[in-house]
């Protein structure tokens, strides 16, 4: 079956920049893996190495059981969807979708049948004779999808395919791509910088930072147990609050001079730590023990964000939306399961 294996794959550009540090992971057959990270983190480079558009400096890449380091992109049996669709402007929709098949020497009737089938799936049947310039952004996106589908590849590669679409269309296409990939059962790698896309679409997420894999895991793992302060602050909106604190190695973390919180942790590190608390896991409560100085309220409709200070540090609380006026110092309830501890210097989870 078509799993994808990366073994210590590394990319160094001729100018000496190490865009991807040695990275190893395996994608089982049929899984959709989202690679997410800020721009310049190496996620696109990683994808382009899998596609064969960039050389692999070190390490081995296998698709199925075949090592493909030196295989032509056209022979890797992959299909790629590009950010700006990369349709051939001089070809009709049908020709765009059939071009790869034509070059593989498939008979015309078979190409026709496959193109029609894909077009039906993507609601493009009436546009087969149009040129890309006569289509809307969403339709072009679909043609790019269709071009990928007709090849019946072992692996789909998506390079930020939705970032040129408006928000509404993006949500719709997100669902379409996800259900299509499920239905076809094809392994897929998906690159995005949008953490919502990553959370909603992925079977597993790979979070990258500065050419290095920070964490690999299911969306719930990434959200509930971020492996580092980077992952903690990158995934989740609004991001996790991170407060400098110190841990006595014995069940209490001290925030400033007069605030100590009990914590269930068996970390063997004592000293400087970063205390992570998700804004949505904190509750306003009269019985709470932690004072919070409110500065500003942002209305989000479904909820509201309270910005202020906790023990002298910036802190955000995601509170349910009732109309009760809030001001001044509020009391917060910080449940133990909401507290995440990270190493003060390395930022790794304790």
């Amino acid at each position: 079956m078509s799993k994808v294996t990366l073994d210590r794959v590394r990319k160094v550009y001729p100018n000496g920049v190490e865009a991807v540090r040695p990275s190893s992971f395996e994608i089982p057959h049929g899984e959709l893996v989202v690679m997410v990270g800020p721009s310049g983190c190496g996620k696109s480079t990683l994808l382009r190495m899998v596609a064969g558009l960039e050389d692999i400096t070190d390490g081995t890449l296998s698709i199925g059981d075949r090592v493909v380091n030196d295989v032509d992109p056209a022979d890797r049996n992959i299909a790629m969807v590009f950010q700006n669709y990369a349709l051939y402007p001089h070809m009709t929709v049908a020709k765009n979708m059939g071009y790869g098949l034509k070059n593989r020497g498939l008979p015309k009737a078979e190409i026709d049948a496959k193109v029609r089938e894909a077009a039906r799936m993507l609601n493009l049947s009436e546009y087969l004779d149009r040129r890309p310039s006569q289509l809307s952004g969403g339709q072009r996106q679909r043609v790019a999808m269709g071009r990928a589908i007709v090849r019946s590849p072992e692996l789909f590669l998506f390079d930020e395919p939705l970032s040129n679409l408006d928000a509404k269309l993006r949500n719709q296409m997100r669902i379409e791509i996800r259900s299509l990939q499920r239905r076809l059962g094809v392994t897929a790698m998906y690159v995005t910088h949008d953490q919502v896309e990553a959370m909603t679409m992925a079977d597993r997420i790979i979070v990258l930072n500065a050419g290095q894999i920070e964490q690999i895991g299911k969306p719930s793992e990434i959200y509930n147990r971020p492996a580092s302060t980077f992952v903690a602050s990158f995934m989740g909106a609004p991001p996790m609050n991170l407060l400098p604190a110190s841990y006595n190695g014995n069940g209490h973390v001290a925030l400033g001079d007069d605030l100590a919180l009990p914590i269930q942790a068996d970390a063997d590190h004592a000293g400087e730590v970063q205390l992570g608390i998700r804004p949505e896991e904190v509750h306003l409560s009269d019985k709470g023990k932690t004072p919070f100085q409110l500065d500003l309220i942002e209305e989000l409709g479904a909820s509201r964000l309270l910005h202020g200070k906790l023990a002298g540090h910036e802190f955000t609380v995601n509170a349910p939306n009732d109309d009760a006026p809030l001001e001044g110092t509020l009391m917060l309830d910080l449940p133990q399961h909401a507290l995440h501890l990270f190493h003060g210097e390395t930022g790794r989870r304790l």
Partner: protein, 293 residues
């Protein structure tokens, strides 16, 4: 586009008048004069002229020499256009692939563009010189006894080589910028769709260059037909007798050397019609075909 409205109808005419005056003085007036004089037989010494109707034209098309020059012009134009486009395209594709020192290559290739046609012709005269020309010597080493200005086809070869050499940089610049405007992702999509590099070129790259190529085709035909006058003039200077020439050069020879102003005017009217046709074709094609966005 916003339509500008002038309150005074004479203002736009006033603003346009310098341009109109130049066109009138340098085009309409001489063109009208040429049409008029093509119906007259001019006295070589300027003592009057006789109306001869269309006989200048009938003489022209009955003249085997004129038809021979016309044939040569066609062959010359086709060869110059083809080779300057093909060589420039090849160089542009190669330069586009170069990653290091690309700027230097491009600058070196564009330099020739700055040379005036007569200067290019003069350099051709030196390079192809019968006794001292290095290219003549090179041909000699291969057993080709090259004789510029003596052998008809040898001279034609030199004319074509110099004209092509002069035109390649212009085409190169256009082709290169055309290539560079093709989005990288489209090339990459082709890379995944087609393993053959030549297949990718003809299926994807070349069609996307077609607007540039068509524009250059018209430019090059015009160049070969009309602008190579300087090259031809320096290469066959003094001895037009048995040497190849194009229709434009023949207008000059017959009019100013042969003092046959009427016949020469008739020839230039024929050329004017040719230019008119080319221009119409160009505008029609540009409007209708080959652009995608």
């Amino acid at each position: 586009m916003k339509r500008a409205v002038f309150s005074n109808p004479w203002l736009p005419i006033l603003i346009l008048s310098p341009q109109l005056a130049i066109i009138a003085v340098f085009f309409y007036w001489p063109a009208g004069f040429a049409i008029q004089s093509s119906f007259f037989l001019q006295d070589p010494f300027g003592f009057g002229s006789t109306f001869v109707g269309v006989s200048n034209y009938t003489d022209l098309f009955a003249s085997s020499e004129y038809l021979r020059v016309a044939w040569f012009t066609i062959i010359y134009t086709v060869l110059v256009t083809f080779f300057s486009l093909a060589i420039a395209l090849l160089l542009a594709v190669k330069a586009d692939n170069v990653l290091r020192g690309a700027k230097t290559y491009r600058t070196l290739l564009m330099w020739v563009y700055a040379i005036a046609p007569p200067v290019a012709g003069l350099m051709g005269v030196m390079l192809f010189d019968q006794s001292t020309g290095p290219i003549t010597e090179l041909f000699g080493a291969f057993g080709w006894d090259f004789r510029l200005g003596v052998n008809y086809w040898d001279t034609a070869t030199a004319m074509i080589i110099v004209a092509v050499w002069k035109q390649v940089p212009v085409n190169f610049i256009f082709f290169l910028s055309g290539l560079q405007s093709i989005p990288r992702s489209v090339r990459e999509a082709a890379l995944i769709d087609n393993r053959s590099a030549s297949g990718r070129f003809w299926d994807v790259i070349f069609p996307l260059l077609a607007p540039t190529a068509f524009f250059l085709l018209i430019i090059n035909i015009t160049y070969a037909l009309f602008d190579t006058f300087g090259v031809i003039d320096t290469l066959v200077k003094g001895e037009p007798g048995n040497n190849p020439m194009t229709l434009v050069y023949k207008v000059f020879i017959d009019g100013f050397r042969g003092n046959d102003l009427g016949g020469s005017s008739a020839q230039s009217v024929v050329l004017m019609v040719l230019v008119l046709i080319l221009t119409i074709v160009q505008f029609r094609m540009m409007e209708r075909r080959i652009h995608y966005t």
